[in-house]
């Protein structure tokens, strides 16, 4: 997956100012950055649901959003997007049909996301973390080759987060490419590469080791602060 000169305007302002990004196949790439930096917008462009002003986005060798990609890309929106009035099972069965996956796939993603105890429960009665796992489960159906996950671990306890990152690791081991946004810095250690996005510009695109070496910081959190504070002000930025 790669983008070249990607510019996106949302409302009155330009939110991505020419983003060049490469996500190598089979890797887990973490998308980090301050709130409002454009992470969700970038992910929407990759999935092909965002109107873009300029630049190109190529996914699995095709332009983003191409009909041929729709069953090969899994997408989890930042806010859980499932049907609250349906049970976990009914939600997953519907999305499985849509993605061209069979019934066994439903059981498999239920196991992967630890929702076995909730299959008969209505989605509107799930806890916040369970709901976001259901949203994730729906995106795993149909064995997508690229997974675009917008903050999939928000609201989860450390055990669940570890389990999910183990799952992401297994998926990438099986050849799946993952683009995962996150606010939790210790999750960065589980990524093959890290991309720092601030005010619509890529501040860094490196491995964790490379990032620490370049900034001389002891951990991601400090490297992040170092980069954010010492970067030149962005285009059109008139101070906070």
């Amino acid at each position: 997956m790669r983008t070249r000169g990607l510019r996106v305007r949302r409302g009155p302002r330009e939110v991505l100012h020419g983003v060049d990004l490469d996500v190598p196949a089979g890797q887990v790439v973490g998308l980090l950055g301050p709130s409002g930096g454009g992470k969700s917008t970038l992910m929407r462009a990759v999935v092909g649901v965002q109107v873009v002003q300029a630049g190109e986005v190529t996914v699995l060798g095709q332009p983003a959003g191409a009909p041929g990609l729709r069953s090969r890309v899994g997408y989890v929106t930042q806010a859980p997007s499932v049907y609250g009035d349906l049970t976990v099972r009914a939600n997953l069965r519907y999305f499985a049909t849509v993605m061209g996956a069979g019934r066994p796939a439903v059981d498999e993603v239920v196991e992967q996301t630890g929702l076995r105890g909730q299959v008969g429960q209505r989605a509107s009665t799930l806890s916040g973390g369970q709901l976001s796992r259901l949203s994730l489960a729906a995106a795993l159906l149909g064995e997508p080759e690229l997974l675009v996950l917008d903050e999939p671990t928000v609201g989860l306890d450390p055990v669940l987060r570890r389990d999910l990152w183990d799952l992401f690791g297994r998926l990438s081991g099986a050849g799946v490419t993952l683009l995962v946004s996150s606010h939790v810095m210790d999750e960065a250690t589980r990524c093959d590469r890290l991309v720092l996005l601030r005010h619509g510009e890529v501040l860094a695109d490196d491995t964790l080791a490379g990032l620490l070496e370049r900034t001389g910081a002891p951990d991601v959190e400090h490297a992040f602060l170092e980069l954010v504070e010492h970067a030149p002000p962005p285009v059109g930025w008139s101070g906070p």
Binding site: R9, R10, G11, V47, G48, V49, Q50, V51, G65, P67, R70, S71, V73, Y75, T77, A79, P80, S81, V82, Y83, G84, D85, L86, A90, Y94, F95, T97, V98, M99, G100, R122, A138
Partner: protein
């Protein structure tokens, strides 16, 4: 459009409805209550026989307009539409699924309301009661398609509810239920010719007044179908895979 995906979507919509007992009860029983009330008000006399059938065409239109505009708006705001449009699901499958699911609800609703009007309230109908159900279903489909289209212009459910009086009430006033259309001022009569509800009421009247009104009603139903198709096409244009 893929029949399998259209049907899966219809099934999903029906499952959602089934989970909401109160809405189902309102959908199926409210028309009966209102028709019963009307029969009572006019004491089952000739006025009831005149406007009863027309009303059987107005209910499904109104109810389906509201139900569809709210449910599709919910899909738009909850993110499920964005998710679906990023999958192989076609826009036609999405729209068709809703049309099939609500079409079935409309047939059930019309069947119950017609049976109640004729059996309990003693409504006199010259033509076949089945023709009344058929016209009601066509009327529901138009309400369905228009609701879908209208939902694209609402940001909130509150706005969507306000569209009901905006889209439906003018049609209600001009459809010939209150004053026969040929007795209205020329301008209003001309306007009534381009409003779908007028044809639903015409068809209902044709069926209820003479035993051989079927052919006339069929022409009106064909027009209703054309309206539904037009509105569905406009609705499809408002379903964008890419949004700003």
């Amino acid at each position: 459009m893929t029949p399998r995906l259209t049907l899966a979507t219809a099934l999903r919509v029906v499952q959602q409805l089934r989970a909401d007992h109160r809405t189902v009860a309102l959908l199926l029983l409210l028309p009966c209550v209102l028709i019963g009330l009307l029969a009572w008000v006019f004491d089952g006399g000739p006025v009831f026989d005149r406007i009863g059938p027309a009303l059987l065409g107005v209910f499904p239109f109104t109810v389906m307009f509201v139900v569809t505009s709210i449910t599709t708006l919910r899909e738009r705001t909850s993110g499920t539409l964005e998710r679906l449009l990023a999958t192989p699901l076609g826009k036609g499958d999405f729209l068709g699924g809703y049309a099939v699911a609500f079409g079935m609800v409309a047939v059930a609703q019309a069947g119950i309301a017609t049976a109640f009007a004729i059996g309990v309230c003693g409504l006199q109908v010259a033509g076949s009661p089945w023709a009344l159900v058929g016209v009601a279903a066509a009327s529901a489909l138009v309400g369905n398609a228009l609701g879908l289209f209208a939902s694209a212009f609402a940001r909130t459910e509150f706005q969507a509810v306000q569209f009901m009086p905006a889209f439906v009430l003018p049609q209600f006033l001009l459809c010939g239920l209150i004053v026969p259309r040929d007795q209205m001022p020329a301008v209003l009569e001309a306007v009534s010719h381009v409003l779908p509800l007028s044809y639903a009421v015409d068809a209902m009247n044709a069926v209820s007044r003479s035993a051989d009104g079927g052919a006339e009603a069929l022409a009106d139903v064909a027009l209703l179908a054309a309206f539904a198709l037009g509105a569905l096409t406009l609705g499809a244009l408002t379903l964008r895979r890419r949004t700003p």
